[in-house]
Amino acid sequence: MAKTVLITDDTAFMRMTLKNVIEKNGYNVVGEAGDGEEAVALYRELKPDMVTMDITMPKMDGITAIKEIMKIDPGAKIIVCSAMGQKPMVIEALSAGAKDFLVKPFDAERVVESLRKISS
């Protein structure tokens, strides 16, 4: 059965781009969240195998969301997605429990590599 992925990003465009790459490569996007709060709620509901998490978002930022999700499920597999120049936040996200990071603009191969590596 295909692995399930929850996409989190506050822009619909980025969600679309990611969803496109992810689904083309045999994964199943089961949910899309527009902010951290939504991501936490959807994680609880959908229990996806993996999550992509944007950092800068309204309501609840990605780092807080990662911490919340790790509380719900210490084994959660989260890939943090950042823009260039967010190095300290990426480090914070990783130390909060994110398993890998992607830097925008996304390179399709990197996205797939990341999903493959953290799901194995």
């Binding site: 260039m84 890998d100 830097v103």
Partner: protein, 669 residues
Amino acid sequence: MDISSFREVFAAEARDYLQSLNEDLLSFERNPSDKDTVDDMFRAAHSLKGMAGTMGFDVLAEFTHEMESVLDLLRNRELEPTTEVINALFGAVDTLEILLEQTISDAPITPVKEQIAVLEALTKNPTPTAVVEPVQQEDESADSLVVQLDEFNRETIKQGISQGHSAFFVKVTLRPNTILKSVRVYTVFQAIEQVATVIQSNPSVLELEEEKFDDSFILTILTKESKDSISQIVNSVSEIASVDVSELPSDDNQQPVQDEVSASKEQATAATQTAPSPLRANALTPVVKQHRSEALVRVETERLDKLINLVGELVTSRTQVIEMAKGDDKIGALDQLDRVTTELQYAAMSLRMVAIKQVFDRFPRMVRDLAQASGKDINLKIFGEMTELDRSIVNQIGDPLVHLIRNSIDHGLEPSADRVAKGKPKTGTITLGARHEGSHILIEISDDGQGINLERIRAKAIERGLIGPQHGELSVSEAGELLFSPGFSTAQEVTDLSGRGVGLDAVRSVVHSLSGTIEIESEPGQFMRTIIKLPLTLAIIKALLVVADGETLAIPIQAVRENIQVERDQIKTVQQHDVIMLRDEVLPLYDLAECLGFKPLKVDGPLPVIVVEIRGQKVGFVVEDLIGQQEIVIKSIKGTLSDIRGIAGATVLGNGNIALIIDNSTLIG
């Protein structure tokens, strides 16, 4: 909780301590008979140890403890201050500096077994014969990516191997064009550190962090995993071009290792080093010291004070202008000035005010660790953490609180079994709280432990020669006084927690330096409570202006409860003191003029009385007249006039006159 902001405070303070240790060592070397310097160094090391322990920086705390032990022998004159000893201490300060910066920057901590051994040799052998040189740093440049292990890393590896670990060089090559290389390196460290200890990194962690490397780096690790599984773990990280794990020649540990790791090239490396910058072989380099993050802006207090003083002047002239304009039409324009200055004032004040939470936040963790170490069940309750106070006080009150809490854990709370036997709850409770009272802040630390053991304190005080052998039973306050005396300790043995009786002495001197007071309350067998009372030394306060004997005086508004008019026939005399009944409470009356040594009041008709709260007690001050509320700038009175009972300072009023500010806590005995 925001640990990162706290780290900066810790780092800044720890650096200050190391700086003063260095200075003291220099002066001690010149004048080894100066006992004060040794005491200072001992306290600095002790405080540093406590701080490091609080932050959970175990290596730093452990090392400082070793250093403190040496200083303890020195101050008790059980160790000769020979050149060797002083060299060893300088070496120890250097090591501490390196450990501190590594700790702060989250770099791998260099093992310090060797340096600890140096200090231990001094404490175990009080007249040292061995010449102990501070460990020399090798500073080799290399043409290619080579690993050079220094003496104590080699020692660590030897130890590790003897305990069944394997030592490997792990050469990791990132894919070319990897974005955020340093973060990728971080994920590699994260992965490896789950199964291995990183002994050394080439290039250094700092250089990796600053991305001063091409695509490859070599980690020297100790692990119980196999070569293959290490390789697999690193390969599970994204953007890795190749991983090459090779064994360290274990029999070669006696010699400096200069292994060309890049010699084994079974795996295709995507990119080879073209012209790597000179690599420092060791993480223990001065370079580390330069790396300090600036998450916290430190403003010189002097500048801050100047700003606040200026604002103060502005507030004063505002009042002047308003007074000038009274009755005129200019009021509208003045509203603006009023609003701006008020805002400016609050903005400036807020720079100085911080919640005590900043200090309290570190205690839950500390109590947890100490509870574990002491095997006691302890529950920490905190209240009033949002109470705000002057930042200069916050910066200084942390250490004393650490001491007091450790004291509660170490001497106050009984072991669980004893508590159960006494019919107390198994879990001991420590309460830490803060609240405002009048123009002061009260910080209290209490525990429901065994309280003060008056007899033991008496015996100890006699033994220490602090009181005579014929001294009778102690009162709680006398015992408290003794507990806070220099060199007094009832600790049965030296533990990591309680130290050596330096703590409470240091607590008292810090509190006094903040012009605060300490009070002890205790019920033997039941509880002990320490109450620290500190002034809210705010630069600008609201005050009630009154007149006594023709002088205008300012009473800080925080202390004022209400103003009342009293008819002469309402005044009664109880034990030769004037009192009135105020809503069923007896309110003692004082003549403010008389209290200050002015001519007693002569007023006909009803008396204006200001009800003020002093140490939880309400008292009434009779005054000649009431002017009203005003914001005033506290100017301290310096020189011979600085210590006048009942006077906290002076201020310039809107009309240019000077008013004395009443310090009601010392006004009446």
